[in-house]
C-alpha cells in the first residue's frame, strides 16, 4: 500500500511505464490501485515494434502491475527527502505491529 500511496501523489503527471517485455508506454497517470495496476491517459508508444492494438485504445490504457519493470518518474515532482522520511516511518510502524503480535 505504501507504494500505491507514493504513486498516487503523481496522479496527473506524465510518466513512462517500462514493461517486462521491453515496451515503454508514456502517458498521464490517471489512477493506481493496491496491486500497482496503473491507468494511463494520452498514451504514446515510441517503440517501433509496438503492438498495433495500442493504436485502437483511444489514448488510454490500464497496465497490469505485474507486467511492469520500471516506472520512470518526473524528478521535479518527487521530494526524495520526504520519501525517505516516509519510508523510515513505515518501516518503524511495520516493526511495531510485528512486536505486538
Amino acid at each position: 500500500m505504501f507504494f500505491t500511496a507514493i504513486l498516487r501523489t503523481l496522479i496527473g503527471e506524465d510518466i513512462t511505464v517500462e514493461l517486462k517485455n521491453d515496451l515503454s508506454i508514456r502517458g498521464r497517470l490517471e489512477a493506481v490501485d493496491q496491486y500497482l495496476n496503473v491507468r494511463l491517459a494520452q498514451v504514446q508508444v515510441h517503440t517501433a515494434a509496438a503492438p498495433p492494438v495500442l493504436q485502437l485504445l483511444h489514448g488510454s490504457c490500464t497496465v497490469r502491475g505485474s507486467c511492469i519493470r520500471y516506472i520512470h518518474l518526473p524528478v521535479e515532482k518527487v521530494d526524495t527527502e520526504l520519501l525517505q522520511e516516509a519510508t523510515r516511518r513505515v518501516a518503524a510502524a511495520t516493526k511495531e505491529t510485528q512486536t505486538m503480535k
Partner: protein, 102 residues
C-alpha cells in the same frame, strides 16, 4: 575491522535497506540487469525507488560467423525510477570501504 552490519544488528533482512536509505546501492535484477543508484524508498516486496541510477544490461549474442558468444553491455542513465520488487534478485549497499567492485 568491519563496517558491515554484523550479527544481531538486524531483526529482519529487509531492515538492511533502511540503513541504506539515501546511500548508493547496487541492485541485481532479472534478465541480467544491474543498477547502481541512490535508494529513496522500499517496501517488503523489495519495490524500490532509486535516483541517479546507471543501468547495465548484459546481452549475450552469438556471432553469426564464428558462433562465438559475445557479451555486449548496454548502459543507460535513469534519473528517477520505480523498480518493481518481483524482478529484484539482490540489493547491496555500496560501502565506501569495500572498494572491491565498480
Amino acid at each position: 575491522m568491519s563496517f558491515t552490519v554484523g550479527k544481531g544488528q538486524l531483526e529482519e533482512p529487509v531492515e538492511l535497506l533502511r540503513i541504506a536509505l539515501d546511500e548508493r546501492v547496487f541492485v541485481k535484477l532479472k534478465g541480467d540487469r544491474e543498477l547502481v543508484g541512490t535508494l529513496h524508498a522500499y517496501d517488503q516486496h523489495l519495490n524500490l525507488i532509486i535516483s541517479d541510477a546507471e543501468e547495465t544490461l548484459q546481452k549475450a549474442e552469438l556471432d553469426e560467423e564464428t558462433y562465438e558468444q559475445i557479451v555486449r553491455q548496454e548502459r543507460r542513465k535513469l534519473q528517477l525510477v520505480y523498480v518493481r520488487g518481483d524482478t529484484v534478485f539482490l540489493v547491496s549497499p555500496l560501502l565506501r570501504h569495500t572498494g572491491t567492485f565498480l
